[in-house]
């Protein structure tokens, strides 16, 4: 099985979907001639032509609104935001139109919006954010946050197949940092099924995206101290695998929720509340959260490091859980 980087897996997966289904097309800024800001669609225009790899004006509203219209007419648009941060410009089209159209009009809106997200390379306040929780709050949108090359490809296929608007958060810091085995053939991964990234019974870290790897590194450190931590990768936030989280909580009795997004109103709060509601009796310690502080993402490397949850932050919290 070939070993691919996370970004290669996204690119290969997208190309495979476009070869398989004529209805799939990509649109966005610089996706065609240039091959995308991160080169996910490099070479696509040569293979699929300028109308299936459509360079658009600098118009997030027209990109997402246009994708919605094309989907209503039977196509399967995959829209690219150059950075997840810019989705704010298309908020209305996701939240007001795409998310609510099926509920109101019974017309499915099968669009995928690819959102390169996350920090770790001094992108500053407008090229580093993780806005998944804002959209998780909107009924009608699905939220996908792959952490591995294997999941990146499989979840992209599922996203394109899904009859609903799907926000596909691809973490930029994983693009070329993470490699893994990825089958050449097409496969899908069902939404709402968490994945055990690392086994353990003493505590569970519930997380997603790049933080899966941070959690894993932290768990490795604690293994030397005889404290075995399960790392549970949610893979999708809407829907999220509540049953699997509760199962882990019941088994481990200690839970840490970890995300790169800021703390207040982050999706971790929803998980913590659910654990409190449904597994209170199974807990041996308070639910803990590790998340970014409630500030914009800072630019300067030292500030950004202080902002992003680090391995040592997770280790420290897990040690507190261990000692509780």
């Amino acid at each position: 099985m070939p070993e691919l980087t996370y970004i290669q897996a996204i690119s290969d997966g997208l190309r495979q979907e476009m070869r398989r289904d004529q209805r799939v097309f990509v649109l966005g800024q610089d996706v065609g001639v240039y091959g995308g800001a991160f080169k996910v669609t490099l070479g696509f225009q040569e293979e699929f032509g300028p109308w299936r790899v459509l360079d658009t004006p600098l118009s997030e509203t027209a990109i997402v609104g246009g994708a919605t219209g094309a989907a209503l007419m039977g196509l399967r648009p995959v829209a690219e935001m150059q950075f997840a941060d810019f989705i704010s410009c298309a908020w209305d089209h996701l939240v007001t139109v795409a998310a609510k159209q099926f509920f109101r009009g019974r017309t499915p809106v099968p669009i995928v919006v690819r959102l390169p997200s996350g920090g770790g390379f001094s992108g500053g306040p407008f090229h580093s954010q993780n806005p998944e929780s804002s959209f998780a709050h909107i009924p009608g949108l699905k939220i996908v946050c792959p952490a591995t090359p294997h999941d990146a490809k499989g979840l992209l296929a599922t996203s394109i197949e899904d009859p609903n608007p799907v926000l596909y958060f691809e973490h930029k810091h994983l693009y070329r940092r993470i490699k893994g085995e990825v089958p050449e053939e097409r496969y899908t991964i069902p939404f709402g099924q968490a994945r055990v990234h690392r086994e353990g019974d003493d505590a569970v870290v519930v997380t997603w995206g790049a933080m899966v790897h941070t959690a894993s590194d932290a768990a490795d450190q604690l293994a030397g101290e005889g404290f075995e931590v399960e790392v549970l990768d949610l893979r999708t936030l809407i829907p999220w695998d509540k049953a699997r989280v509760l199962e882990s909580v019941r088994r481990c009795s200690k839970v840490l929720v970890l995300h790169e997004d800021t703390r207040t109103g982050g999706f971790g709060g929803e998980i913590a509340a659910t654990v409190a509601e449904e597994a209170f009796e199974d807990l041996d310690a308070p639910v803990m959260r590790v998340a970014a502080p409630d500030t914009p993402v800072p630019f300067s490397p030292g500030l950004e490091k202080a902002f992003l949850p680090q391995v040592e932050d997770v280790v420290k919290s897990l040690q507190e859980l261990a000692a509780y």
């Binding site: 219209g69 089209h93 009608g140």
Partner: protein
């Protein structure tokens, strides 16, 4: 820079050249009467407390809406707004479903999930508006993009008002449509009042249609009370788009003859303005035209009027028989399932 201002329609011969026979003309008249009738009935029902929420009408816009919709081809699509009841009627939405929609009943196109004119029947090529105007313009552009990608000879129509022309969606949608020369026609219902905001506080140029030049396509201003002139301009623009000639912006000039919604008495609109535009009421204007140009007889008129009246009576009765939606089903239908894609256009 002056945009083209469309001439009024003159003789029956001219209309025939535009593709309408006498039956079509009587159909247009009937659609305009149903449009007004349904909104008048709705108004009464609202005052009787039978319609929850708010209530909007398009009085004065019947000619613009019916004229454009009559020019659409059977496979064309559109995203009409809250002054465009005539589009729904012309495309064939059954009146009882509209009244059921007003009343929040299961039989309305949104099955009580949304209210008033926030509705459409997709099988008839229409897609429901949202309140955030003109958010449906980029959506219509995307529909046109799909047609262009697939090579379909279909056209998308996107409606907006002169008020919402101030929003960025209008710019982004038209710009992309112009760049890609997409088969889309933009219809501006310029009824001169965005709630209480007059045109001179909404835009600084003479006509919204002047903007078309900035996007690289044609613009035209037409008297929205002249249903046949609207039809002629829409037909030309739609067929041009179908032939690959790119977008057109048609500005239909009317006056909103009532408040923004029924709670609004429109005190801010000068009385003379209402009087002036009442004198060119689109339905009365067309009736007069039919009598002098197409030999509309008293008998025909009586017959059409009674057919419409019966239709609306039946519609009201049937709407009231439609059940209210079951709250137990509220949480179903937020997400589509694979079977929901099993529609002709999603295959």
């Amino acid at each position: 820079m002056a945009v083209r201002e469309a001439e009024p329609v003159g003789s029956l011969q001219e209309v025939k050249e535009a593709g309408l026979d006498r039956e079509d003309l009587l159909g247009i008249y009937r659609h305009m009467l149903i449009t007004r009738g349904i909104e008048e009935r709705g108004h009464i029902l609202y005052r009787q407390g039978k319609i929850p929420g708010s209530f909007y009408t398009g009085r004065g816009n019947e000619g613009a809406a019916v004229g454009v919709a009559t020019a659409m081809g059977p496979n064309d699509v559109g995203t009409p707004l809250h002054r465009d009841m005539g589009v729904h009627i012309t495309r064939g939405v059954e009146p009882w479903r509209i009244i059921a929609q007003y009343m929040g009943r299961e039989g309305g196109p949104t099955r009580g999930r949304d209210g008033n004119v926030h509705m459409a029947v997709p099988e008839l090529g229409l897609h429901p508006m949202v309140s955030h105007l003109p958010a449906m313009l980029p959506v219509a552009v995307g529909m046109a993009l799909a047609f262009k990608i697939r090579g379909d000879r279909r056209v998308a129509l996107g409606w907006f008002g002169e008020g919402s022309a101030a929003r960025g969606d209008a710019h982004e949608g038209m710009n992309m449509a112009g760049v890609r020369q997409l088969p889309v026609v933009f219809i501006c219902d310029n009824n001169q009042w965005a709630y209480s905001t007059p045109t001179y506080l909404g835009y600084p140029i003479e006509h919204i249609a002047d903007r078309a030049a900035a996007y690289g396509f044609d613009g035209v201003v037409v008297d929205g009370t002249d249903v046949l002139a609207v039809y002629r301009e829409a037909k030309a623009a739609i067929e041009k788009a179908r032939q690959g000639g790119g977008p057109t912006l048609i500005e239909c000039l009317t006056l909103r003859m009532e408040g923004h919604a029924v709670h609004d008495d429109a005190f801010y609109v000068p009385k003379e303005m209402f009087e002036q535009w009442a004198a060119q009421d689109p339905i009365e204007r067309f009736r007069t035209w039919l009598r002098s140009n197409a030999d509309l007889t008293d008998d025909e008129e009586d017959q059409i009027t009674s057919v419409v009246k019966r239709l609306l009576n039946d519609a009201l009765e049937r709407a009231e028989e439609s059940p209210l939606p079951d709250p137990a089903g509220l949480e179903q239908g937020v997400f589509a399932s694979a079977e929901d894609l099993d529609t002709p256009h999603h295959k």
